[in-house]
Amino acid sequence: MSTSSWTGRVRAATLEKMKPEDLLPEEQPAYVASWIYIFGVLTLAALFMLIFSGLVLTVEGPAWWHTSTIGHYWNSVHLWSVELFFIFMVVHLWGKFWMAAWRGKRTATWITGVLAFGTSIITAFTGYVIQTNFDSQWISTQAKDGFNAMGIGAYFNALNTGQAILIHVALLPLVVGVIVLWHVLLVRRKGVVPPIDNDGTIARGAKK
């Protein structure tokens, strides 16, 4: 198939490399049989709850949850979703570390996973800054020193609540979303890494 046009090149680099049975599989390698495997999808589920509860909170504005019981409940859902999100993500990360899951040309999958972890931490931080209560006042006044010390504070001002709200609600979820989507597509395309002791490349003394 011709790939001379931009469209053709994009199609060849994306759709033609993804088979339907890889995207939505009905079977897995027999070794994929451990509770550790559920933490990837649990992380995605918690991310979905974060986005959903966050969208509910955006409808009535950043101060709604201080005055409304319903708003406070959804703020609580948002808080507990982020706690679950990080618990699931850290267990998933440790699991993949002990599997040496970067084997078999899966380095990009590992790197996008770590990138998702890092950008999620920054996203969560901006969430704590925009609570518009005492906690957010204290966190922002302390965190500004770290950002200022790196020169970042000249561009991202933790004391500027409006800037932090826009970054938390618009910019960073987009960044996290794109990285997570990239990560998931890499997982589906490369498949789940096989057990270490079955690694033929290691048996042959090849680069690990």
Binding site: S34, F134, G151, N198, D199, G200, K208
Partner: protein
């Protein structure tokens, strides 16, 4: 014993498989997490300690407010001597020749004496305050510093008082300026003055929070009571007993130990260190010794125990 199935992990798996339903797994996981998050929210709620204001500060601890306001005039507060991005009073933090704070420059100009004290007083429409500001503004910097420093010393000796008598005029207009600012703060007008100085519809609280952050006897005290201070692992704590940003434990850890906690450049050093460690985690597959750890410590034997058991049969 049959020979172990050896595969190239970069190739598509062609060995034995088991049935799997991705969509079912996603739906079950999403429902389970939704119930869990919703249930935890219902059972444990979330903290919401109300925001503090310059008004609550002035009403609760007027002495600390007066000391801090005088410090802004004397140029002795944290904000007054901060450096970039607010002013050029200091070079800021650095690590060796790396001076990121200084290099970024002054992009959010703040002059604490003028922005926190003088300009708000000019909005008061009060003759005593206006006269005091006029006297202050007509004096040179050395005279201003002499007045403010002397008054700051007097206030610190008069513990718990928000004013000190000045029969000999040693403090110049400073006592009147501070007293007027305190009155303004108690009325709530100072909160509005500081946040609306750039636009009447504000979303930027930089000035009021910097001023509040200079307080040592009110704002920091409230934070300490909520175990939010840096030496209390405050970075990863939340008000009350709720879980906070526990994922920042390593970041917080460095601030608890030397040489970081006693360094004047702790923020720069810790931020750079965390950046290097994050980069290391990202590039782990390329780091010779570290990438061997999963082989040396066979946790994978536990993860794939069923598979290995079948392989060994």
């Amino acid at each position: 014993m049959s020979p172990k199935l050896m595969v190239d992990p970069s190739k598509k798996w062609s060995g034995p498989t088991r049935p799997y339903d991705l969509v079912k797994e996603i739906v079950v996981a999403f429902v389970a997490v939704a119930l869990l998050a919703g249930g935890l929210a219902f059972l444990f709620s979330s903290p919401d300690d109300p925001a503090v204001t310059l008004k609550s500060w002035a009403l609760t601890n007027s002495a600390d407010f007066a000391v801090t306001a005088t410090g802004e005039l004397a140029g002795t507060t944290t904000s007054a001597g901060y450096g970039a991005p607010y002013n050029t009073a200091a070079k800021g933090q650095h690590f060796g020749f790396i001076k990121l704070q200084d290099w970024a420059g002054v992009r959010i100009p703040i002059d604490p004496a003028n922005d926190f004290v003088v300009k708000p007083l000019l909005m008061m429409n009060d003759s005593a305050a206006s006269s005091a500001v006029a006297e202050w503004s007509s004096a040179n910097a050395d005279q201003q510093s002499t007045w403010a420093t002397a008054y700051a010393d007097a206030l610190s000796k008069a513990e718990g008082k928000d004013s000190v008598a000045d029969p000999s005029g040693t403090f110049g207009p400073v006592p009147q300026m501070v007293a007027s600012l305190l009155t303004m703060a108690k009325s709530g007008a100072l909160d509005g003055a500081l946040i609306t100085s750039d636009t009447p519809l504000p979303t930027d609280f930089t000035k009021s929070l910097l001023f509040l952050g200079d307080s040592e006897g009110y704002f920091a005290d409230l934070a300490s009571k909520q175990h939010l201070s840096g030496d209390q692992w405050g970075v990863m704590n939340e008000t009350g007993s709720w879980p906070g940003q526990s994922w920042l434990w390593l970041f917080s850890f460095w601030y608890q130990i030397d040489p970081f906690k006693s360094s004047d450049n702790a923020d720069t050093i810790v931020m750079l260190l965390m950046g290097v460690l994050t980069l290391g985690l990202m590039l782990l597959p390329f780091i010779p010794l570290l990438r061997r750890i999963p082989y040396a410590i066979p946790v994978h034997r536990l993860i794939w125990r069923d598979w290995y058991r079948k392989q060994d049969k």
